[in-house]
Subunit: 335 residues, 2 copies
Amino acid sequence: LSQLSRFRTEDEFVRWLTRLTQGRASGLVVGIGDDAAVAHPGRGQEIILTTDLTIEGVHFLQHLHPADVVGHRALARALSDVAAMGGKARFALISIAASRSAGRKWLRDFYAGVLRLVARHGVALVGGDTAVVGGPTLMDVLVVGEVPRGKALLRSGARPGDRLFVSGRLGLSALGLEVLRSRKLRTSSKFTRALRAHLYPQPRLQLGHFLQERRLASALIDISDGLSTDLQRLCRASGVGACLHAENIPGPPAKTFPLLRGTASRWRWALDGGEDYELLFSVRPRNVPKVPRQFHGIPLTLIGEVVRGRSLFLALPGGRKVPLAPGGYDHFRKA
Amino acid sequence: LSQLSRFRTEDEFVRWLTRLTQGRASGLVVGIGDDAAVAHPGRGQEIILTTDLTIEGVHFLQHLHPADVVGHRALARALSDVAAMGGKARFALISIAASRSAGRKWLRDFYAGVLRLVARHGVALVGGDTAVVGGPTLMDVLVVGEVPRGKALLRSGARPGDRLFVSGRLGLSALGLEVLRSRKLRTSSKFTRALRAHLYPQPRLQLGHFLQERRLASALIDISDGLSTDLQRLCRASGVGACLHAENIPGPPAKTFPLLRGTASRWRWALDGGEDYELLFSVRPRNVPKVPRQFHGIPLTLIGEVVRGRSLFLALPGGRKVPLAPGGYDHFRKA
């Protein structure tokens, strides 16, 4: 395979990328190729800014994750942050520091994954930076979104008495990673859904926008590091506590997943799994009946309520309450 | 020195950074601490988006560049891109993948360098991402700027007959790096200015904004990779050629810089040096008299003209013209 250095100059690489991203995007004045991109925001809109690092060996493994999956996942993380503000995603910039071993084909497949996902959400890839590094491949994805003035859904709006909902099924992505790592499980059709959840997570942009437009959520966060960790973030920002009902948390279906048998707690997958990119949101009691059971096929599940204080609890079947500690992924603790 | 992992959790690091960046910035709705930042752009403004990677071993060396210098330079690169569009810088996001050997003190000094520079230009640090990596330290700096609708100064506006100007003195930063590398030269007071140019380059935001407001520049680019390389970029985007007058190019003053003696051409420093972050701009003949000789103490020098065709020339003293090849830094060629 040809090396990245087959792009003889950086300018040649930029021209290649410019061709890939051609086609006028709405609101875009200047795309890739000048000193910076220029865009005009919609009338009455505020801009949302978010950026996420994706690192080989931390967020993906060269031998397990195909290049298009790496592109998809890197972008999905940042898009999910825009969903978590109730906004629309508009523009993306990608900086990539490619390891010397990444070939031209790898880069092409990486951008194929990126471009498929931006196309699906009407996002324009408008810039970035590029370099070759001695260390692992690393990318930083910036997404610019927009939301009507004053309407961004923050983490800090939850009040005692609010109900807590999550979208989708949690823990599927973490399970998918276990499956991907196991040669035996990988071939089983039982795990197709978990594998897909891990390889191609879908940022919940439409759902976030729906919650914002209908004013259904009092606080909103995306679940990137596990329900237990992201629930703590939402509660800290709001100055509240929470109680979750273990039985109601939509985890991977235990019966069909033999992998789950014998694990200390079947809820651990859903609580600490991470990388699900589902949405966790609080709803005022009067708005609970307005939350649909499904949104475009994605289940919305009532999993608990916001309480006074600062503590998080998990109510087990039978009624016993245990403290809920954040157990999701943390780059600093693992370091 | 305490390790980065002394921030026991990522959330703790984010809280530390939030304290550092407190104080309400104009136009900022949500800063660090939620899923994303939210800001409102000024009325009638377009947004400018630019991002730049800074990599240990490529853009800085751990043993030569103090942490605050690394922060300053990383941010200056991105601010310079906004200057090169004629815009105002508003918001910055910094993603940093810190090598395991970077300590808490290093991070603190890094952000001190960043925060001094953002304060000088009225920019708010509103977000970013963070991780610890096995490889070299790496950061991606995104700056959001703004410019009145339709007024961004592009690379593509130069026409044959336009005159070419540069700000400041070119090659000082490259010379400063040579000085920094030499134990002997480093102690000489002769090189203070070159060292300063290398360690603390000043993005020409006010100048870029001035050229935009007065409609003086037909095309504008910042000189990040060397005059020869960035001139080629401007000419390619405009579909023109150029001829520079070697004698007029403001390089490091040869007499006071013994290092320059014996180098093949004293202009090479100015032509290929890179990292000067000065501005190169073209001016319609009728506007040439309106370009001041200095702008806030920074000399603006007429160095050549835009010509038909696609070729770049250097006119040597005596009148001989030689082809001018881009010789600046290119991450792909060096890789």
